[in-house]
Symmetry: none
Subunit: 224 residues, 2 copies
Protein backbone atom coordinates (compact mmCIF):
# COMPACT_ATOMS: atom_id res chain seq x y z
CA UNK A 1 0.00 0.00 0.00
CA UNK A 2 1.28 3.39 -1.03
CA UNK A 3 0.09 5.19 2.08
CA UNK A 4 2.26 3.03 4.29
CA UNK A 5 5.27 4.23 2.34
CA UNK A 6 4.40 7.85 3.00
CA UNK A 7 3.44 7.02 6.54
CA UNK A 8 6.92 6.42 7.84
CA UNK A 9 8.43 9.63 9.23
CA UNK A 10 11.83 9.14 7.64
CA UNK A 11 10.34 8.53 4.21
CA UNK A 12 7.91 11.38 4.66
CA UNK A 13 10.80 13.71 5.33
CA UNK A 14 12.56 12.52 2.21
CA UNK A 15 9.48 13.01 0.10
CA UNK A 16 8.89 16.44 1.54
CA UNK A 17 12.45 17.36 0.68
CA UNK A 18 11.76 16.30 -2.89
CA UNK A 19 8.56 18.30 -3.12
CA UNK A 20 10.34 21.24 -4.70
CA UNK A 21 10.78 19.14 -7.81
CA UNK A 22 14.54 18.96 -7.72
CA UNK A 23 16.48 15.73 -7.47
CA UNK A 24 18.58 14.92 -4.43
CA UNK A 25 21.25 12.31 -3.84
CA UNK A 26 20.69 9.40 -1.48
CA UNK A 27 23.11 10.92 1.01
CA UNK A 28 21.37 14.25 0.99
CA UNK A 29 18.06 12.58 1.56
CA UNK A 30 19.57 10.59 4.40
CA UNK A 31 20.72 13.76 6.08
CA UNK A 32 17.39 15.37 5.39
CA UNK A 33 15.63 12.56 7.21
CA UNK A 34 18.24 12.38 9.94
CA UNK A 35 19.15 8.77 9.29
CA UNK A 36 22.23 6.88 8.18
CA UNK A 37 22.90 6.20 4.50
CA UNK A 38 22.21 2.50 4.79
CA UNK A 39 18.82 3.11 6.32
CA UNK A 40 18.05 5.68 3.68
CA UNK A 41 19.04 3.21 1.02
CA UNK A 42 16.49 0.78 2.32
CA UNK A 43 13.79 3.43 2.34
CA UNK A 44 14.62 4.64 -1.13
CA UNK A 45 14.44 1.13 -2.48
CA UNK A 46 10.94 0.84 -1.09
CA UNK A 47 9.87 4.21 -2.42
CA UNK A 48 11.20 3.24 -5.82
CA UNK A 49 9.39 -0.08 -5.72
CA UNK A 50 6.23 1.81 -4.83
CA UNK A 51 6.66 4.07 -7.80
CA UNK A 52 6.87 7.24 -5.78
CA UNK A 53 10.42 8.16 -6.69
CA UNK A 54 12.72 7.30 -9.55
CA UNK A 55 16.49 7.26 -9.57
CA UNK A 56 18.94 8.73 -12.01
CA UNK A 57 22.44 7.46 -11.86
CA UNK A 58 25.19 9.97 -12.33
CA UNK A 59 28.72 8.93 -11.60
CA UNK A 60 28.87 7.50 -8.15
CA UNK A 61 25.83 9.48 -7.12
CA UNK A 62 22.26 8.42 -7.30
CA UNK A 63 19.81 11.22 -7.72
CA UNK A 64 16.23 10.66 -6.71
CA UNK A 65 13.23 12.68 -7.78
CA UNK A 66 9.47 12.33 -7.44
CA UNK A 67 8.12 10.20 -10.25
CA UNK A 68 5.70 12.79 -11.57
CA UNK A 69 3.28 15.53 -10.63
CA UNK A 70 0.60 13.06 -9.62
CA UNK A 71 2.75 11.91 -6.75
CA UNK A 72 3.41 15.49 -5.73
CA UNK A 73 -0.31 16.16 -5.92
CA UNK A 74 -1.24 13.32 -3.63
CA UNK A 75 1.43 14.40 -1.17
CA UNK A 76 -0.02 17.88 -1.25
CA UNK A 77 -3.42 16.45 -0.52
CA UNK A 78 -2.14 14.49 2.44
CA UNK A 79 -0.42 17.55 3.78
CA UNK A 80 -3.71 19.40 3.43
CA UNK A 81 -5.55 16.83 5.50
CA UNK A 82 -2.81 16.87 8.08
CA UNK A 83 -3.02 20.63 8.32
CA UNK A 84 -6.69 20.54 9.27
CA UNK A 85 -6.11 18.54 12.43
CA UNK A 86 -3.36 20.91 13.50
CA UNK A 87 -0.97 18.04 13.10
CA UNK A 88 1.02 20.18 10.72
CA UNK A 89 3.87 22.07 12.23
CA UNK A 90 3.84 25.81 11.95
CA UNK A 91 6.65 27.24 9.97
CA UNK A 92 8.79 29.29 12.29
CA UNK A 93 12.26 30.46 11.50
CA UNK A 94 14.31 29.23 8.58
CA UNK A 95 12.98 26.70 6.11
CA UNK A 96 16.33 25.10 5.43
CA UNK A 97 16.34 21.88 7.46
CA UNK A 98 20.08 21.87 7.91
CA UNK A 99 19.92 25.37 9.31
CA UNK A 100 17.14 24.37 11.65
CA UNK A 101 19.05 21.39 12.89
CA UNK A 102 22.39 22.91 13.79
CA UNK A 103 23.87 26.34 13.20
CA UNK A 104 26.14 28.94 14.70
CA UNK A 105 24.57 31.56 16.92
CA UNK A 106 27.39 34.09 17.41
CA UNK A 107 29.90 31.51 18.62
CA UNK A 108 27.80 28.70 20.08
CA UNK A 109 25.56 25.92 18.90
CA UNK A 110 21.97 26.67 17.99
CA UNK A 111 19.11 24.86 16.28
CA UNK A 112 17.47 21.63 17.21
CA UNK A 113 20.70 20.12 18.49
CA UNK A 114 21.51 23.18 20.54
CA UNK A 115 18.13 23.14 22.21
CA UNK A 116 18.39 19.43 22.71
CA UNK A 117 21.78 19.79 24.33
CA UNK A 118 20.59 22.28 26.92
CA UNK A 119 17.49 20.21 27.55
CA UNK A 120 19.54 17.16 28.35
CA UNK A 121 22.02 19.08 30.47
CA UNK A 122 19.19 20.50 32.52
CA UNK A 123 17.54 17.14 32.80
CA UNK A 124 20.71 15.53 34.14
CA UNK A 125 21.41 18.31 36.60
CA UNK A 126 24.55 19.42 34.82
CA UNK A 127 23.14 22.92 34.94
CA UNK A 128 20.40 24.69 36.83
CA UNK A 129 18.31 27.25 35.03
CA UNK A 130 16.21 30.10 36.37
CA UNK A 131 14.73 32.04 33.50
CA UNK A 132 17.69 33.32 31.56
CA UNK A 133 20.24 32.62 34.27
CA UNK A 134 22.00 29.31 34.12
CA UNK A 135 24.60 28.02 36.53
CA UNK A 136 26.90 25.07 36.18
CA UNK A 137 26.58 22.42 38.89
CA UNK A 138 29.44 20.47 40.44
CA UNK A 139 28.11 17.49 38.58
CA UNK A 140 28.24 19.51 35.40
CA UNK A 141 31.85 20.44 35.98
CA UNK A 142 32.82 16.81 36.35
CA UNK A 143 30.89 15.93 33.24
CA UNK A 144 32.61 18.60 31.15
CA UNK A 145 36.04 17.66 32.42
CA UNK A 146 35.51 13.99 31.77
CA UNK A 147 33.88 14.02 28.37
CA UNK A 148 34.97 17.26 26.77
CA UNK A 149 38.17 18.15 28.62
CA UNK A 150 36.75 21.50 29.62
CA UNK A 151 37.85 22.88 32.99
CA UNK A 152 36.07 25.73 34.78
CA UNK A 153 39.09 28.01 34.75
CA UNK A 154 39.01 28.03 30.97
CA UNK A 155 35.59 29.63 31.13
CA UNK A 156 36.10 32.66 33.33
CA UNK A 157 35.83 35.98 31.58
CA UNK A 158 35.78 39.51 32.99
CA UNK A 159 32.61 40.65 31.30
CA UNK A 160 30.85 37.58 29.97
CA UNK A 161 28.87 35.01 31.94
CA UNK A 162 29.85 31.37 31.84
CA UNK A 163 26.32 30.24 31.08
CA UNK A 164 23.43 32.09 29.53
CA UNK A 165 20.12 31.08 28.03
CA UNK A 166 19.70 32.22 24.45
CA UNK A 167 16.31 32.02 22.75
CA UNK A 168 16.58 29.84 19.69
CA UNK A 169 15.41 31.34 16.45
CA UNK A 170 13.88 28.28 14.87
CA UNK A 171 12.91 26.27 17.92
CA UNK A 172 11.65 29.15 20.04
CA UNK A 173 13.22 27.57 23.07
CA UNK A 174 16.47 28.16 24.92
CA UNK A 175 19.88 26.92 23.95
CA UNK A 176 23.17 27.41 25.78
CA UNK A 177 25.22 30.58 25.25
CA UNK A 178 27.97 32.20 27.32
CA UNK A 179 31.62 31.21 27.50
CA UNK A 180 30.63 27.60 28.14
CA UNK A 181 28.46 27.48 25.04
CA UNK A 182 31.31 28.89 23.01
CA UNK A 183 33.86 26.51 24.54
CA UNK A 184 31.71 23.49 23.85
CA UNK A 185 31.17 24.48 20.23
CA UNK A 186 34.90 25.01 19.84
CA UNK A 187 35.56 21.63 21.36
CA UNK A 188 33.13 19.97 18.97
CA UNK A 189 35.11 21.46 16.10
CA UNK A 190 38.46 20.38 17.54
CA UNK A 191 37.19 16.84 17.99
CA UNK A 192 36.03 16.84 14.37
CA UNK A 193 32.51 16.21 15.53
CA UNK A 194 31.20 19.20 13.65
CA UNK A 195 32.32 22.04 11.44
CA UNK A 196 30.81 25.14 9.97
CA UNK A 197 29.64 24.69 6.43
CA UNK A 198 32.23 25.62 3.83
CA UNK A 199 29.83 27.84 1.93
CA UNK A 200 30.81 31.46 2.57
CA UNK A 201 28.36 33.22 4.84
CA UNK A 202 26.56 30.03 5.75
CA UNK A 203 25.77 29.53 9.41
CA UNK A 204 25.00 25.86 8.99
CA UNK A 205 26.94 23.48 11.22
CA UNK A 206 27.53 20.07 9.73
CA UNK A 207 28.04 17.19 12.10
CA UNK A 208 30.20 14.29 10.98
CA UNK A 209 28.76 10.81 11.31
CA UNK A 210 30.89 9.95 14.28
CA UNK A 211 30.35 13.41 15.66
CA UNK A 212 26.63 13.01 15.51
CA UNK A 213 26.92 9.71 17.27
CA UNK A 214 29.18 11.05 20.00
CA UNK A 215 26.95 14.06 20.46
CA UNK A 216 23.89 11.87 20.70
CA UNK A 217 25.63 9.67 23.26
CA UNK A 218 26.19 12.68 25.49
CA UNK A 219 23.14 14.80 24.80
CA UNK A 220 20.71 12.68 22.80
CA UNK A 221 17.09 12.57 23.80
CA UNK A 222 16.28 9.41 21.92
CA UNK A 223 14.12 11.23 19.44
CA UNK A 224 16.60 11.23 16.59
Amino acid sequence: MVAALVGDPARANMLTALMNGRALTASELAQEAGITPQTASSHLAKLEAGGLVEPEKQGRHRYYRLTDDDVAGVLEGLAGLAARTGHMRVRTGPKDPALRRARICYDHLAGDLGVQMLDTMRERNLVRQKKQDIELTAEGERFLAKHLQISPDMLSHPRRPVCKACLDWSERRHHLAGTLGAAMMQRFAELKWAARDATPGSRVVNFTRTGEKQFAALFGNGKD
Copy 2:
Protein backbone atom coordinates in the same frame (compact mmCIF):
# COMPACT_ATOMS: atom_id res chain seq x y z
CA MET B 1 0.87 11.93 10.16
CA VAL B 2 -2.24 11.19 8.20
CA ALA B 3 -0.57 8.83 5.77
CA ALA B 4 0.41 6.51 8.56
CA LEU B 5 -3.24 6.18 9.45
CA VAL B 6 -4.12 5.10 5.94
CA GLY B 7 -1.02 2.98 5.77
CA ASP B 8 -2.19 0.27 8.10
CA PRO B 9 -3.96 -2.52 6.16
CA ALA B 10 -6.83 -2.86 8.59
CA ARG B 11 -7.54 0.85 8.57
CA ALA B 12 -7.15 0.99 4.81
CA ASN B 13 -9.80 -1.69 4.43
CA MET B 14 -12.14 0.23 6.66
CA LEU B 15 -11.65 3.43 4.72
CA THR B 16 -12.12 1.66 1.44
CA ALA B 17 -15.37 0.24 2.71
CA LEU B 18 -16.50 3.77 3.48
CA MET B 19 -15.53 5.13 0.09
CA ASN B 20 -19.05 4.80 -1.29
CA GLY B 21 -20.11 7.62 1.01
CA ARG B 22 -22.29 5.52 3.23
CA ALA B 23 -21.86 5.04 6.94
CA LEU B 24 -20.98 1.72 8.55
CA THR B 25 -21.14 0.53 12.13
CA ALA B 26 -17.99 -0.25 14.08
CA SER B 27 -18.78 -3.95 14.01
CA GLU B 28 -19.31 -3.97 10.29
CA LEU B 29 -16.05 -2.18 9.74
CA ALA B 30 -14.37 -4.71 11.99
CA GLN B 31 -15.72 -7.54 9.88
CA GLU B 32 -14.79 -5.68 6.73
CA ALA B 33 -11.22 -5.46 7.91
CA GLY B 34 -11.17 -8.98 9.30
CA ILE B 35 -10.34 -7.94 12.84
CA THR B 36 -12.04 -8.13 16.23
CA PRO B 37 -14.28 -5.31 17.46
CA GLN B 38 -11.84 -4.16 20.09
CA THR B 39 -9.06 -3.78 17.57
CA ALA B 40 -11.41 -1.96 15.24
CA SER B 41 -12.40 0.34 18.06
CA SER B 42 -8.79 1.31 18.54
CA HIS B 43 -8.36 1.98 14.84
CA LEU B 44 -11.53 3.98 14.58
CA ALA B 45 -10.48 6.14 17.51
CA LYS B 46 -7.27 6.95 15.67
CA LEU B 47 -9.03 7.64 12.41
CA GLU B 48 -11.42 9.94 14.22
CA ALA B 49 -8.56 11.73 15.96
CA GLY B 50 -6.94 12.15 12.58
CA GLY B 51 -10.07 13.71 11.19
CA LEU B 52 -10.58 11.08 8.53
CA VAL B 53 -13.88 9.71 9.80
CA GLU B 54 -16.63 11.01 12.02
CA PRO B 55 -19.08 9.04 14.10
CA GLU B 56 -22.83 9.26 14.42
CA LYS B 57 -24.35 7.63 17.42
CA GLN B 58 -27.59 5.79 16.88
CA GLY B 59 -28.90 3.73 19.77
CA ARG B 60 -26.23 1.30 20.73
CA HIS B 61 -24.66 1.49 17.30
CA ARG B 62 -21.95 3.82 16.18
CA TYR B 63 -21.99 4.67 12.53
CA TYR B 64 -18.81 5.96 10.94
CA ARG B 65 -18.52 7.86 7.69
CA LEU B 66 -15.74 9.68 5.92
CA THR B 67 -15.47 13.24 7.19
CA ASP B 68 -15.97 14.90 3.82
CA ASP B 69 -15.20 14.74 0.13
CA ASP B 70 -11.67 15.96 0.62
CA VAL B 71 -10.82 12.83 2.52
CA ALA B 72 -12.43 10.71 -0.14
CA GLY B 73 -10.51 12.62 -2.77
CA VAL B 74 -7.15 11.99 -1.17
CA LEU B 75 -8.01 8.32 -0.75
CA GLU B 76 -8.92 8.23 -4.42
CA GLY B 77 -5.57 9.72 -5.24
CA LEU B 78 -3.72 7.18 -3.16
CA ALA B 79 -5.68 4.40 -4.80
CA GLY B 80 -4.71 5.85 -8.14
CA LEU B 81 -1.04 5.74 -7.29
CA ALA B 82 -1.41 2.22 -5.95
CA ALA B 83 -3.11 1.13 -9.14
CA ARG B 84 -0.10 2.10 -11.21
CA THR B 85 2.15 -0.36 -9.43
CA GLY B 86 -0.34 -3.15 -9.97
CA HIS B 87 -1.72 -3.57 -6.49
CA MET B 88 -5.41 -2.84 -6.62
CA ARG B 89 -7.95 -3.83 -4.04
CA VAL B 90 -11.23 -5.53 -4.70
CA ARG B 91 -14.51 -4.31 -3.35
CA THR B 92 -16.98 -6.84 -1.98
CA GLY B 93 -20.54 -6.53 -3.23
CA PRO B 94 -23.78 -6.21 -1.21
CA LYS B 95 -26.18 -8.95 -0.18
CA ASP B 96 -29.84 -10.03 0.02
CA PRO B 97 -31.85 -7.84 -2.40
CA ALA B 98 -35.22 -8.35 -0.68
CA LEU B 99 -33.77 -7.23 2.62
CA ARG B 100 -32.30 -4.17 1.01
CA ARG B 101 -35.56 -3.20 -0.63
CA ALA B 102 -37.92 -3.28 2.34
CA ARG B 103 -37.57 -4.52 5.88
CA ILE B 104 -38.56 -3.85 9.47
CA CYS B 105 -36.31 -1.63 11.52
CA TYR B 106 -37.59 -2.11 15.09
CA ASP B 107 -41.20 -1.30 14.16
CA HIS B 108 -40.96 0.92 11.11
CA LEU B 109 -40.16 0.63 7.44
CA ALA B 110 -36.54 0.53 6.35
CA GLY B 111 -34.61 -0.30 3.23
CA ASP B 112 -34.77 1.30 -0.17
CA LEU B 113 -38.52 1.97 0.13
CA GLY B 114 -38.15 3.43 3.61
CA VAL B 115 -35.47 5.84 2.50
CA GLN B 116 -37.47 6.69 -0.58
CA MET B 117 -40.52 7.42 1.55
CA LEU B 118 -38.74 9.91 3.76
CA ASP B 119 -37.10 11.49 0.74
CA THR B 120 -40.45 12.14 -0.87
CA MET B 121 -42.01 13.37 2.35
CA ARG B 122 -39.20 15.84 2.77
CA GLU B 123 -39.40 16.87 -0.86
CA ARG B 124 -43.10 17.63 -0.59
CA ASN B 125 -42.77 19.53 2.68
CA LEU B 126 -44.71 16.96 4.65
CA VAL B 127 -41.83 16.98 7.13
CA ARG B 128 -38.89 19.23 7.88
CA GLN B 129 -35.59 17.68 8.84
CA LYS B 130 -32.64 19.13 10.71
CA LYS B 131 -30.00 16.48 11.12
CA GLN B 132 -31.64 13.78 13.20
CA ASP B 133 -34.61 15.88 14.23
CA ILE B 134 -37.70 15.71 12.07
CA GLU B 135 -40.93 17.60 12.56
CA LEU B 136 -44.27 17.08 10.89
CA THR B 137 -45.68 20.08 9.00
CA ALA B 138 -49.30 21.13 8.86
CA GLU B 139 -49.28 19.99 5.30
CA GLY B 140 -47.96 16.66 6.47
CA GLU B 141 -50.75 16.27 8.99
CA ARG B 142 -53.35 16.86 6.27
CA PHE B 143 -51.61 14.37 4.02
CA LEU B 144 -51.57 11.65 6.68
CA ALA B 145 -55.19 12.18 7.63
CA LYS B 146 -56.37 12.14 4.04
CA HIS B 147 -54.40 9.19 2.66
CA LEU B 148 -53.62 7.02 5.65
CA GLN B 149 -56.24 7.97 8.21
CA ILE B 150 -53.59 8.87 10.73
CA SER B 151 -54.35 11.70 13.13
CA PRO B 152 -51.72 13.52 15.22
CA ASP B 153 -53.26 12.51 18.54
CA MET B 154 -52.61 8.88 17.71
CA LEU B 155 -48.94 9.65 17.67
CA SER B 156 -48.24 11.24 21.02
CA HIS B 157 -46.17 9.16 23.37
CA PRO B 158 -44.64 10.07 26.72
CA ARG B 159 -41.14 8.89 25.95
CA ARG B 160 -40.92 8.56 22.22
CA PRO B 161 -40.72 11.30 19.60
CA VAL B 162 -43.25 11.45 16.80
CA CYS B 163 -40.61 11.69 14.12
CA LYS B 164 -37.00 10.66 14.17
CA ALA B 165 -34.35 10.12 11.54
CA CYS B 166 -32.95 6.64 11.61
CA LEU B 167 -29.87 5.73 9.65
CA ASP B 168 -30.74 2.99 7.21
CA TRP B 169 -28.70 -0.17 7.41
CA SER B 170 -28.51 -0.96 3.72
CA GLU B 171 -28.91 2.46 2.17
CA ARG B 172 -26.88 4.34 4.73
CA ARG B 173 -29.26 7.23 4.49
CA HIS B 174 -32.06 8.28 6.78
CA HIS B 175 -35.49 6.75 6.92
CA LEU B 176 -38.41 7.68 9.18
CA ALA B 177 -38.64 6.31 12.71
CA GLY B 178 -40.60 7.43 15.78
CA THR B 179 -44.26 6.87 16.52
CA LEU B 180 -45.18 8.15 13.07
CA GLY B 181 -42.87 5.69 11.38
CA ALA B 182 -44.37 2.90 13.44
CA ALA B 183 -47.93 4.05 12.79
CA MET B 184 -47.37 4.24 9.06
CA MET B 185 -45.88 0.77 8.95
CA GLN B 186 -48.80 -0.55 10.97
CA ARG B 187 -51.20 1.14 8.58
CA PHE B 188 -49.49 -0.43 5.59
CA ALA B 189 -50.04 -3.80 7.19
CA GLU B 190 -53.68 -3.10 8.02
CA LEU B 191 -54.33 -1.96 4.48
CA LYS B 192 -52.78 -5.21 3.23
CA TRP B 193 -50.19 -3.22 1.36
CA ALA B 194 -47.35 -5.08 3.00
CA ALA B 195 -46.60 -7.78 5.55
CA ARG B 196 -43.59 -9.08 7.34
CA ASP B 197 -42.12 -12.19 5.80
CA ALA B 198 -43.36 -15.41 7.35
CA THR B 199 -39.89 -16.78 7.89
CA PRO B 200 -39.10 -16.68 11.61
CA GLY B 201 -36.53 -14.05 12.43
CA SER B 202 -36.70 -12.53 9.00
CA ARG B 203 -37.02 -8.80 8.86
CA VAL B 204 -38.02 -8.72 5.20
CA VAL B 205 -41.21 -6.85 4.37
CA ASN B 206 -43.12 -8.10 1.34
CA PHE B 207 -45.34 -5.66 -0.52
CA THR B 208 -48.45 -6.84 -2.35
CA ARG B 209 -49.05 -5.77 -5.93
CA THR B 210 -51.72 -3.27 -5.06
CA GLY B 211 -49.73 -2.20 -2.04
CA GLU B 212 -46.71 -1.48 -4.14
CA LYS B 213 -48.82 0.56 -6.53
CA GLN B 214 -50.51 2.54 -3.76
CA PHE B 215 -47.20 3.14 -2.02
CA ALA B 216 -45.64 4.31 -5.25
CA ALA B 217 -48.57 6.65 -5.86
CA LEU B 218 -47.97 8.33 -2.51
CA PHE B 219 -44.22 8.13 -2.13
CA GLY B 220 -42.82 7.04 -5.49
CA ASN B 221 -39.91 8.83 -6.99
CA GLY B 222 -40.51 7.64 -10.54
CA LYS B 223 -37.44 5.45 -10.57
CA ASP B 224 -39.25 2.15 -10.22
